[in-house]
Assembly symmetry: C2
């Protein structure tokens, strides 16, 4: 048993093997573990705590904007899932099917929800009669199951945790505004909580959600130059409403169909945090989402007063709202340093006998290893709070600079391929709007259209077919 | 469309048909709705908000006592569920079985978790090596599936929401202390949050959890005199540890098996709230668990200043931590009163033009209909907070008196049957400890042993067999 030695939990370097580095971090930072069913992971306390931080932040935003949480059944009758044609086509190949309940074979197979549009629609059709019943702004926190062949922790799994919002509105205008509002909330959460700058835009017809009229997306850029779709917000029009008969009597005494949205983010966001901010020593957590922001590590903790001081500091910091812990285990300080590093805890606070004499402590920043000596006085908490805020800003600016440095314009297909294979990241390309050209780019380069830049000024021609461009599109290789 | 009329949502009286009254309240208070799969209900916003209140309260308690949340997979391989003999025997008849994933038949069937002991055990066996890794104090909030033939909203469903705690410890003593600690937290939550007095005790061998060495329970008494098992805490000994090989190297350098617990409460607690406190006008919510504590209902809201005042009051109360809403819909006040009543909102605050003139408002208590006139001054929030606390105490004392009035001692089987058929409630009976006698009581009376009173002084004889009593047992008909 390694005990009073320095921990040596070396992980693969990012530049040597990024994929291996990623799974090393996932496991050694104890975010997750594999279960005995392929594609089904265990969210360990540290990984789940990260998800809880995200949940708390977003749930508050959802409620402030008038949304209510509900819980729909986990199982969907096969016939119900089939009611909207595009939708079932999109999800049928990924379904987990329950064929037996109790000791009997079921009369109708039940599908474990891959997403819950059909359940919400069926319910809405029952409970909505009048304009007075609108809007309905529901959200659900749950897990969903999509049978995947290739799986990676947090990025693609057969079961994952997420939230799915489902709203219905009296008018198209309201529903469109809701779609954009939720996209904004996603973008804002990424920026202010996760220190991740997102590219936002609209999916192409080919890449949009099964059954949606329009899909908007937030896309993050990983350290290896690949994009990660991190959240989507869909406008459904009245397609589902017609398939499920969700009608209401409007103020003008006419029966009308509702207009609908859905939107979701998942534990993929954990993957984004890891791959945007992590380094060769492990996880690096943005302070606002870090379950522990400061780890106090006593030096020579057996010496008089050291542990007492550590616990006193813990109370002092806690009182100022800092998420703080003391590592008082019987491991060596070096071992504790490594563990705190691997787990990406933003600040490490060392306090030992000599510090006590001098009335000071040493604080180390995870993000760059910088060490600062601080006085053990009544200003300590304020100084640390400011430091945490500065670190957030520093991490965001670093990620933003990296992302901006990896958005490149291309005019020709050769140029496109060249950038993709040297620098990676996003490549903005004029596009004619034909699926054929989009597919050819994917087939030849493995880069997919991430989203249409809805604010870009469109000029130039599609480099594939030479026709006049209709859109400027962000392409990238993606997870 | 009923609009400016008084709402007339009459529900069945409790005394006419308690079962019908119960489902009427569940549906008309909009706590739940049925889905198209039997036994799978929809938790509507109001019902889910109640569960969120319970979650928030308990999750805090769990974390304060050192527990961490995790998330385990939803699916369990059939062979894994079979690893502990008693456990699989208990759950096999209730399993929902996934036999297809994607487009293929599975090599091994997967069971939707009916409970997650086996998953936790498999994980613990992998991650625990040394005494330093102990204890592990994990909890999970999720839903589970148990195929039930007869279902009732919140009380018995094929899917329900719950928390399941699973802990492992180095010693039997620690694990036993954990079992009792969690029972205490359950009892305290029921008392302080839900205003429900619980009978606590130990389950008989026959009634204990499949695989447990001992099961402790909290039992609530419903208005119709039937008991409702509302939470359980299990001590497992090292039975699962041996079946799953969860060993650790102790300080004395010996390999030992861990000692284990699990404990859970579910959305059954919503059923308890409804059936303990509800009345013929609907739900009656204890203030601390009520998602909305005060409903402000403007009278003649079209008149100048009325709505403004209502919103001003809302802000004032909110600033003092009161959960408050304004009902500014275009329904009549009478309709709004009925709705607030049906939903069991503790206080209704009426404010109209005449109140504005007089600088006052009328507050009605849901629990007894009492009306109070209060000044619209800076003390209003404090007065309401005090009122809410008083209502909690009043509701708890009422429920306690009812429960105490429904605990009766019996010495003979005749006496037992007589009490059961006239008064209902709990009957305390001396019992020899033989399962045969316990079964006979159940078969002849439909009353089951709810729990052993572990603190009772035991004397007398078992009225069934005449042998010397080993325990005093609470019997009752139960949900």
């Amino acid at each position: 048993m390694a005990n009073n030695k320095v921990k040596n939990d070396a992980i693969t370097s990012r530049d040597v093997d990024f994929a291996k580095w990623y799974t090393d971090v996932c496991r050694k930072a104890e975010l997750m573990d594999y279960s005995s069913v392929k594609g089904f992971i265990i969210y360990r306390p540290y990984g789940y705590a990260l998800w809880e931080m995200i949940q708390a932040y977003m749930d508050k935003k959802f409620k402030e904007t008038g949304h209510e949480n509900v819980y729909m059944p986990m199982l969907i009758p096969e016939s119900l899932l089939q009611k909207e044609a595009d939708h079932v086509e999109g999800f049928a190949p990924e379904c987990a099917v329950v064929t037996r309940g109790g000791l009997d074979n079921l009369e109708e197979n039940l599908i474990i929800r891959p997403t819950s549009e059909t359940l919400f629609c069926e319910h809405y059709a029952k409970i909505v009669n009048s304009y007075r019943d609108l809007p309905k702004l529901y959200n659900q926190w749950c897990s969903v199951v999509r049978w995947e062949k290739t799986t990676r922790p947090f990025l693609r799994g057969s079961e994952f945790l997420w939230q799915e919002g489902h709203t219905i509105h009296a008018t198209e205008e309201e529903a469109r505004a809701e779609t954009m509002q939720m996209l904004d909330i996603y973008e804002e959460t990424s920026r202010n909580l996760l220190a991740i700058p997102m590219v936002t835009g609209k999916k192409t017809e080919r890449e949009k959600f099964a059954g949606a009229e329009e899909t908007y997306t937030i896309e993050a850029l990983m350290h290896d130059g690949k994009a990660l779709q991190s959240g989507t917000s869909h406008y459904f029009g009245d397609g589902f409403a017609k398939a499920f008969g969700i009608q209401f009597l409007d103020k003008d005494n006419k029966q009308k169909y509702v207009h609908q949205t859905s939107w979701g983010v998942s534990t993929r966001l954990l993957g984004a945090i890891i791959m945007v901010h992590g380094d060769d020593n492990g996880l690096v957590l943005p302070p606002r989402v870090a379950p522990t922001q400061v780890m106090i590590i006593p030096i020579q903790q057996q010496k008089d007063g050291v542990l007492d001081k550590a616990y006193e500091l813990e109370q002092q910091l806690k009182a100022h709202g800092i998420r703080v812990k003391v590592d008082a285990t019987d491991k060596s300080p070096g071992w504790k340093f490594s563990e705190a590093e691997m787990r990406g805890i933003p600040l490490r606070l060392e306090v030992g006998p000599r510090d006590l004499e001098n009335g000071q402590c040493v604080v180390a920043k995870r993000v760059n290893g910088e060490k600062i000596t601080l006085s053990l006085d009544e200003n300590l908490s304020q100084t640390l709070l400011q430091l945490l805020d500065d670190i957030h800003e520093e991490m965001y600016q670093k990620a933003l600079a990296f992302r901006n440095d990896h958005i490149t314009n291309a005019k020709t297909f050769e140029e496109f391929k060249d950038i993709l294979n040297t620098k990676g990241g996003y490549i903005k390309l004029p596009w004619c709007g034909d699926e054929e050209c989009e597919v050819r780019i994917k087939e030849e380069t493995a880069a997919t259209s991430r989203c249409i830049d809805t604010e870009a000024q469109v000029d130039g021609v599609c480099p594939i077919c030479g026709k006049k461009a209709k859109h400027i599109v962000y392409f990238a290789r993606a997870y």
